[in-house]
């Protein structure tokens, strides 16, 4: 697996590049984290004092080297603004995001694959159009709109689900999942169309393929043909689409995190970028970057594993 090796080597290099980029770009953003911490009413002297306390008056390369050294040895520092250890903060937020992403993904896969299959098998019939167009329309509706609608209906009116994604401490897994249900649902609504379209495309190819026709001529029912042949052949090409969605679910959730009060990594990324909280920002960017690359790689590997043609090389 030379490809895997080459890609793995690229990961730290890309991350290094990203960290430099983050450092340099944040430096260019106007604003001052010391001022943010102390508020606008604090005196200029206090702010200057805090700056030097935080080491912000050192030259950029020196600060970068310091940060890099610390980061690599596991000392991720303290958040400038929140004053808590960055590592705990980032990893906690990441864990929260991952839980939500995992739930959303777990719902997304069967729903999107199911709808994609239904659409593909019945392609160019009304069901297909319904799935395709509604998937597109939902995908085009910002998640904060669907989110609020879900909240108003299910949390405020019906009170079936809590409005906040955060369960009280020590809740059982079931309760926690209940809290995550609405945000996960709004994400599923957002992403289903995209994945379903990919599955559908695969399903159309598969259902019209000679092997599906052959299976039917062997006396299998439609359903058997779909289950045995179409399902796998249509989901394999959709793995990269699923990877893209997983990436999005992990880092692109700022709006959902805000709306459902789910302190996740997306919101942390935004707030630390706005506040110029560099240690937090850097760590968040690195962790997310790593995760992104792992996901893309995993999607590629999954594709290779699932598709025997690639897994086992070209024809012998």
């Amino acid at each position: 697996m030379r490809f895997l090796l080459r890609r793995l080597v690229a990961v730290p290099l890309t991350l290094l590049g990203v960290s430099v980029l983050v450092f340099v770009t944040t430096e260019l953003v106007p604003g001052d984290v010391a001022r943010t911490i102390l508020g606008r009413e604090a005196s200029a002297e206090s702010v200057a004092r805090l700056r030097s306390q935080l080491g912000l008056d050192a030259p950029l390369p020196e600060r970068y080297a310091d940060w890099l050294g610390g980061f690599l040895t596991g000392r991720w520092g303290e958040s400038y603004t929140l004053g808590v250890p960055v590592r705990d903060l980032v990893l906690d937020r990441l864990a929260a995001s991952m839980l939500l992403a995992a739930l959303a993904f777990a719902l997304l896969v069967p729903v999107a694959v199911g709808l994609g299959l239904v659409a593909g098998v019945n392609h160019d019939r009304p069901v297909d159009r319904l799935v395709s167009v509604s998937g597109l329309a939902l995908g085009a509706t910002p998640e904060f709109v669907t989110g609020v609608v879900l909240l108003v209906v299910f949390a405020v009116r019906l009170r079936w689900f809590p409005s906040s994604a955060q369960a009280p401490d020590g809740s059982s897994l079931l309760v926690r999942l209940g809290h995550l249900a609405l945000p996960a649902l709004s994400l599923v609504l957002l992403c289903t169309g995209y994945v379903a379209r990919h599955v559908r495309a695969g399903a159309v190819v598969a259902i019209e393929s000679a092997y599906a026709g052959a299976a039917e001529l062997r006396g299998l029912t439609r359903w058997q043909v779909v289950r045995r042949h179409v399902l796998r052949n249509s989901t394999i090409p959709a793995t990269s689409a699923l990877g893209v969605q997983l990436q999005f679910l992990l880092g692109g959730l700022v709006t959902v995190e805000l709306l459902f009060n789910h302190p996740g990594i997306g919101a942390l990324l935004l707030s630390s970028a706005v506040d110029k909280d560099l240690p937090t920002l850097q760590a968040t960017a690195m962790v997310l970057g790593l995760l992104y690359m792992v996901i893309v790689l995993a999607a590629d590997v999954a594709y290779r594993l699932l598709d025997p043609r690639i897994r086992l090389g070209a024809a012998s």
Binding site: Y211, G219, T221, N233, D307, A315, S316
Partner: protein, 668 residues
Amino acid sequence: MTGLRIENLSVAYAGKAAVRGVSFTVAPGQTYGLVGESGCGKTTVGRALGGQVARGGAITSGRIVVDGVDVLGLPPAGLRRWRAAALAVVHQEASASLDPTMRVGTQLAQALRARGRDRREVPELLERVRLPDPRAIARRYPHQLSGGQQQRVVIAAALAARPRLLVLDEPTTGLDATVEREILELIGELRVELAAAVVLISHDLDLVGRLCDRVGVLYAGRLVEEGPAGAVLREPAHPYPAALLAGTPRLGRTRRTHPLTPIPGHPPVPGEELAGCSFAPRCPRADALCHATAPAPSAVAVAVAVAGVPVPPVASGVAALHQASCHHPDQARRPEPRPQPPQRQPAETEPAETEPTETGPAVPESGPLLEIRGLTRRYGRTVAVDGADLVIRRGEVVGLVGESGSGKTTLARAVAGLAGRGPGTITLHGRPLHPSVTRRDPGQRRAVQMVFQNPYASLNPSHTVRVILAKAARSLGGTREPADLAREAGLDAYILDARPDRLSGGQRQRAAIARAFAGEPDLVVCDEPVSALDVSVQAGVLRLLDDRQRAGGTSYLFISHDLAVVGYLADRIAVMYQGRIVEQGPAGQVLHGPHHPYTALLVGSRRPGPPGRVSATGCPFAGTCPSRVGGLCDTSAPPARDLGQGHVVRCHLDPDRLPRRAGNSTSP
């Protein structure tokens, strides 16, 4: 009654008739061949036999009765049960009819389970289609098998059905000659054993003649002629099969002795309604009657079935009937006797045509144009071409044959300067050619041109034919206008302003040939230029290549896996095996022998031995060679033996022990 009976079957796609009123019967144990040009409805009939039509299609009329069961009248569940119990279909492309993501064994197991049988029979099934090491094969995925092996697996799945009706749709198309023969042998054996009604679909008249009892010729969705295979393929009553036969190259017939006559025009597309006979626009003998009224099927005088043709096993009186839908059935027969189909005929009946002496004087002796010495090309660790030596003389057509993967394309691309770098030299007019085309000087670029296999990819789809030809003419220093080039290639002027996607395969290949001749080349490399084409179109393109060669005295390096095609065009033939040229010499001598044991295999005079081990130092063919000399062949490289007239064979065997094309080994 038992067997298959089709009555008045019609199928339409989006309301346009693709198959019209087809009726025939097949008795159990009998094989019925369906032949015709591409698009005439063969596959559509084949699928309809299982009650299946492609999306957008519908069976508009007709009955299909198998062993008394009216298939089309079955309710969906009943149809499924019937399919499971009585039907087996082997599709056109084996690789497409196997699920790429599922192990072969699993797929067979499913086929078995559908018939209520045990999955433990899988190895047995694989063994019956003569696949080595069935257990290992069962664990593989389709792409891990060769085309021939895949086709066997599909046949195995069909066997699992113990069908009453077996439909074989082009079971050997796309397979190379040796594999094709193995598959055909297998089918021949199983046919008897199964005692099912078999429908064999093919455009290959030879093959149908060899395997079938009766033949139906489809044209534009109609059965234009039907009758015993021997009669139809030797003495066709309808001008269409006669024309098909006239356009098919056969081993032992060269362009100098038997020029092919392609059928002009092209078949009507579905929905194109003609008042009279649908073949009339292309028929040389059509008269007003033909254009005005459609002919009805009528019996052909049985007297035509000349002595010597064994009467096929007759299941019913109808089977012997020979019918044709033609107003002038007798005129289709040529005055001279048709060559006998190879079916169950000893090859010795046509010795005059395979006499090498007949082709001798046609080859002009001239100096070398291109010399290849010790050419080696690798892809990673694969050695695609391994120290090949080849000489092409001025004005000479050199045919290059060999099984798939033997390195033909790589050699051709090396000559054209597209195969990257590697050891060995190529000289043109005595001057070395740079391995990379971009480093060759304009004169050399002009001198060597290429016609590619896939007509669909070889023309830039975004340019019109005129632009393509003009660009070629300009950069190759040609003097002729696109219009002239097109006319020389037999293309109508209107085509010049069309983009390639509007052209048929044959027209594209003609355009590609016109492009190759834009700069008056000395050598044109043709890599399987006709293998993607239909029989009748192939004949036209072969004629064109022949014309262009004669007109300009251009040399060809002509590649094909089809020996008949190579034999038709080539003056000299080189045979490649695993990257090495194992034999080269005058076409007739190479084909007729004495020749290399591998060539013998290709021309069908020998059965392959069991595959064995090959050492790096010995003869690459040693593993499979039926006449292997133990020890010697395995360990030392074979010497080049000159048999005279430039006929060189690389083999340890004594020249007089080399095999000859003695007889036809494909016995029933």
